[in-house]
Every structure is written in C-alpha cells, then in structure tokens.
Symmetry: T
Amino acid sequence: MADFVYKQIELTGTSKTSVEDAVQSAIAKASKTVHHIQWFQVMEIRGSVEANKVGYWQVILKVGFKLED
Amino acid sequence: MADFVYKQIELTGTSKTSVEDAVQSAIAKASKTVHHIQWFQVMEIRGSVEANKVGYWQVILKVGFKLED
Amino acid sequence: MADFVYKQIELTGTSKTSVEDAVQSAIAKASKTVHHIQWFQVMEIRGSVEANKVGYWQVILKVGFKLED
Amino acid sequence: MADFVYKQIELTGTSKTSVEDAVQSAIAKASKTVHHIQWFQVMEIRGSVEANKVGYWQVILKVGFKLED
Amino acid sequence: MADFVYKQIELTGTSKTSVEDAVQSAIAKASKTVHHIQWFQVMEIRGSVEANKVGYWQVILKVGFKLED
Amino acid sequence: MADFVYKQIELTGTSKTSVEDAVQSAIAKASKTVHHIQWFQVMEIRGSVEANKVGYWQVILKVGFKLED
Amino acid sequence: MADFVYKQIELTGTSKTSVEDAVQSAIAKASKTVHHIQWFQVMEIRGSVEANKVGYWQVILKVGFKLED
Amino acid sequence: MADFVYKQIELTGTSKTSVEDAVQSAIAKASKTVHHIQWFQVMEIRGSVEANKVGYWQVILKVGFKLED
Amino acid sequence: MADFVYKQIELTGTSKTSVEDAVQSAIAKASKTVHHIQWFQVMEIRGSVEANKVGYWQVILKVGFKLED
Amino acid sequence: MADFVYKQIELTGTSKTSVEDAVQSAIAKASKTVHHIQWFQVMEIRGSVEANKVGYWQVILKVGFKLED
Amino acid sequence: MADFVYKQIELTGTSKTSVEDAVQSAIAKASKTVHHIQWFQVMEIRGSVEANKVGYWQVILKVGFKLED
Amino acid sequence: MADFVYKQIELTGTSKTSVEDAVQSAIAKASKTVHHIQWFQVMEIRGSVEANKVGYWQVILKVGFKLED
C-alpha cells in the first residue's frame, strides 16, 4: 500500500482589499480544477500602486493537495 | 553594569480570521509565561485549507523579550 | 528612444491596525516626494509589542517608480 | 530544430521509513502521469511526529522532465 | 466579480547560444499548451560543458499566466 | 475560545548511522521534557569525520509542539 | 582623513534585446543624476511576455558609487 | 547508549563597544541558566544609532549546548 | 495623525582597522545629508587584500531613518 | 604561534543506494588527496531518475580540513 | 567499484562584452588545469562601471568536474 | 588577449581575540600557497565556547585571487 504523495502548485492571488482576500481568491480559483487542497504557503506579498494607493494586493502562494490514486 | 540581553523564541500562532489575529494569538499565549515581550518578526505565513477556503492562518513568528537580571 | 528605467526604494511603514495599513502608510508618505509609484514588494513583517499586544505593525517594503526623463 | 525544454513540478513524497523512500514514492507516483522524468532535487525534509517517533517523513522535492514535442 | 488569479510554472529552457535564447525557447514551448503568458522570472542559470566550452545554457525560469475563467 | 499556539525549538540530533536516526534521537530526547511534539523540520545536515569516514551525523532540526492551556 | 563611503541604489533597467542592454540602460539613466558609479550587481532577471516572446527584459540591479566629500 | 542531543537558543547580545563584546555579553547571560554551552553562530549584526554614532551593537546569535541526560 | 514612516538606504562603509569602524564611518557620512538615523543592519562584510593583509574592511549596511513630515 | 586555519572544498558524492552512502563516497575520495578532514556539511540533495526510480543520489557537500603548517 | 565523485570550484570570469563571454572565459581558463569539466552554475552577475558604461562583466560561477581515479 | 579570471576558495580562520584577527589569520595562511589574493568575503561568523566565554572566533570566508597565465 503506497504512502500519500502531494503536489504543490504556485499561484498568484489578487485582491483590492487585503492579503487574506488575495489568498482566498487563489484557493477558490484553484479548487475549480484541483481537488483536496489541504494547505498553502505564502511565498511573497507584492502589489500594484494606483494613484498613490495599493491597487491590487498580489500574493504569491503555493497550494498543496493530495494526488489521487 | 552589564548590557541588556534578549532572547527570541519561535512560535506559530493560528487564527481563523487573519494574519494579524494569528500574531496576536501567539503573543497573548507567550505572554503567560514570558515577561517583557518587546518585538516580533514574522518568519512565514501558511495555513490549512478546508472546503476550498482557508481553515486556519498559521503564522510562524519570532518573539523577542529582555532576559531579566 | 531609451527604454524605461525604474528605481526602487526601501521603506518601513507602520500602523497600529494591520499589515495592509502599514503598507498604505508607506506608499502615501513616499508619494509626497516620488511620482509614478507603480508597485511595491513586502520584504519583512515585524512589529513592536506593548502590554502583550501588537503595538505597531512594521512592514519593510520596496516601492518602485519610473524615473522621469 | 528547437532545443529541449524541461518542466519541473513540486511534490511531497511521504514514507514511514526513510528520506530515500519518500523520494522514491513521489517519483513513482509522478511517473504515472508524467513521462521522461530525468532528475529530482530535494527542497525540504520535514515530517510528522507520533508518540515521540517520526510518523511520516515528508520530503518536498522538484521533479524535472523533458517536454515532448 | 472575482479578481484575477495567475499560475506560475517552472521550466528549464536550453540553448547553445545565450541566456536570452534559452528563455525564449522555454516561453515558446510553454505557449503551445498555456495561453496568456504574461511574465517570467529567471531562477537560475547553469549549463553543460563540452570540450571546454559551454555546451548548453540551461536557464531555470518561472513563467506566469492568467487562469482563464 | 483561543486558537492553538505552537512553539518550535531547535535541536541537533546526532547518530553514527544515519540522518533518520539522528532525527529520531533528537525527538526522543526532546519528548522527555516537552509534550505533544507534532512535527519537525530538518534545517541542516552536517557531521564530523573520523578516519576518513563519517563519525557522527549531526542533523539540525526544528521540533514543533502545541502549547498547553 | 576619513575613509571612503559608498552608496548603493536599486534600479530596474529594461530592454527589448538582452540582459546586458537592460543593465547598460539602467547605468546610463542613473549616471545622469549620480556621479562616480563604480560597480553594479544583478539582483534579479525577469521580464514581460508579449505574443509568446519576451517583451521586455527587466533586470533589477544595485548600482554603487562613491559619496563625494 | 543514546547519542548526544544539543539544543540551540537564539539570543541578542548588546554592547556599546563591539560585535565581539555583544556576543560575549549574550553568552555570559545565557550561561547563568544553561550549562555546557559549546558553540555560537552569529545570525545578524545590527544596532541602534544615537547622535550619528552607533549606540548599541545588537548581535543576534544562536547558542548551542548539550542536553543533559 | 499619520503613523511614522522610515526609509532605509544602503551604504558601504570602509575602514583600515575594523568592522565596527567601517560601520561608524558610513553612519557619520550619511548623517551629513540624512537626519534622524535610528538604526543600521549589516548586510555583508568583505574587503580588499593588499600584501597578504586586509587592506580595507568594506561593510555593506542598511541605515534607517524617520521620514520627516 | 598562529591559530588554526581550515579549508573547505565542495564535492558531489554519488550513490545508487542512499544519501548517507553518497556522503561517505565523497569523503573517501577526498581523503586520498586531502588529509585531516574534520567535518562536512550537506548543501543540496538531488539525483538522476532512470526508469521511474532514483538512479543516483547526488549529494553536494562541503568538506573541511585543517591546513597543515 | 566506487561511484563517481565530482568537485566544484568557484571562479569569476570577466568579459567586456557579455555574461556569456565571461562564463566561457572562466571555463577556458579552468580547463587548462582541470580536466573533464562537465557543468557550471552561475552564482552572481556583477561588474565594474567605467565612464557610465559597463567596464567588465564579472560572473561568479561554480564549475564541476569528475575526480579521476 | 584573454580577460582576467579569478578563483575563490573558502577558508575558516580562527582567533582567540576578534573577528578581524580570524580573517587576517586565514589570509596570512592562504598567502603561503596562493599568490595575488585581492579580496575576501565573510560568509559566516561562529565560534566555540569554553568556560562561558568565546574560545575561538571561527570566521568562514571566501578569498579571491587572480589566476596567473
């Protein structure tokens, strides 16, 4: 019986409001094609600036999920 | 007269709501056994995913405090 | 016709409320002397602790802007 | 005639016995959907602890393979 | 209306002539299966040596593209 | 009801035989004073050399455990 | 007599043709306002992609120059 | 017979005079509660500035010691 | 009332005698054009060698100061 | 009387069986030309894949030895 | 029959024209004393500036070769 | 006419008194077998502890020198 294997993919979630919302956005999007997402890891937080304010929060994250048998 | 010496310990705070809340949670917990916490430094932001949403924000941080004489 | 050149400067924004607010604070301040800020990148998140709570969120970030001709 | 292009994907192999076995496990799993795996690179070694012993070795690795024409 | 989400994949482009050519090679290859590639980031530059000259430039890069709705 | 908080401590396990054994050794030792160890992360693998062979494997690892209420 | 002090600033040079040209572009631009540039250090190589080709090479570099007395 | 296990703790030593003195200060302080300190590793050198001079050298270091049986 | 914002600049201080002196040299120089320097962080220690001895200690540091209103 | 000086060289040991064996292989080879090897440090673990199994474990390590007078 | 062992040495190649040329220069030089160079890895790209142009490209690279029996 | 090529070797200098002295010690030793040392770069500062004081400062550094024709 084989042990579990997981795959991690790297995404950039964006949001006009917060770091947390950008992460949620990426996970929601990924879950449309990938099942069983179990964890994420933020790799970098950056963003665009428009009119001297943050335009979009851009959060680069890894998302991990179990590979199905 | 000796100069000050500080100690840093590493914690993981968790929260269902935000990065900030996870940090506050860790500091609150640590302050029950450690006095004089003066600063923190976020080392990593990660989390669990449940039903395609963030379950828990897990923030790994260092907390620094002055060693008493 | 020359290609664009950008400059990045490093700032620390502070806020009593959130990581996002500290970033906004730094961008607002920088925009008083620098024009055309286009992006930012968070380098580090740290802060002070007062009375067992976060006193100030201190977010070290790079801010990038186009150098004018 | 174009030069070769490779793709790297990131996996987490797990094993109850050893680091080596966790790597083998991830490669075996990946080879079911990806052909021509040529190399791997260990990114991180971690694991779970159960009853004061290592429960699972979790090895995060990148696996590289040639993209077919 | 959801914010944009991007995915980054990691490739190794190769070329007998230059770093730039290896990057172009990887982007050209990736664009056959992935649409809307918007940016890349070089992660590492290495290569093979044959007869005391560079045989192949091997450039490891990340390629970012918008996930379609 | 507060969220969980974890603490990580850094150890160096040693073994004459293997990386795995050095990790097990550190966890076994730590479990004598710390309860509820849940995970570990290998930070560095090094060792001593004696008579042209590995004398001791020295594995630096972080061990994480839940802080009790 | 004081020892020399240097300042480093961070720029992003861009070019449609090559990494080298992007670096030259940044140095040329910086030299309009800063004198005595003596060295540079490439921090990151990235770029935009347009129509499945590199649009702009974006090279982030530090430029060092002696502070005048 | 079990192999040795070491623990590393992270401290910040401070000194008005030198990096070396800040390290000595941290080791002296730590040795009041921890026995058998065997090595240290400097992680970061920073400091405060007062009246355009270094106020305090702040040296972040790890200190390693053998865990007693 | 806005929160404080700080700026960090990167310098290289040099000295024929010591790391500490090179840092002092850079801070002294910077303080001629920048007010309110509050902290520094050593990024790298390197130097030139002349006649098999250290010629100049070159210490790359960041210097942080509060931006005035 | 001069203090000791050590030199570190970087090797890649290979093995068909394990990480440990690859390290031993590199140390054994190095000891044929270098005396007094005292320690090693693993820098990276990678390997080749053949027929969906690890072909060779390739362990990049630094080996340290005392320079003789 | 022993497995292969490789050695990596670190060089800085220089060139007035390009990154690629600086790498070739270093490999050519190294091959006069070292046989069987098989690969290289670029560690850093920097250079000197003369009269507001790149004077020399300085590419720090590791060069790997098989140790002969 | 070929461009210059440099080689970097990694050493650990030791001293009972200071970081600077440990660096000088390593350079002095290396200069007995290597000519034309031009620069050094400190990679890590660590040391042994004896009787609750620093026993030896151990400074890991790279030393660069021009390869002769």
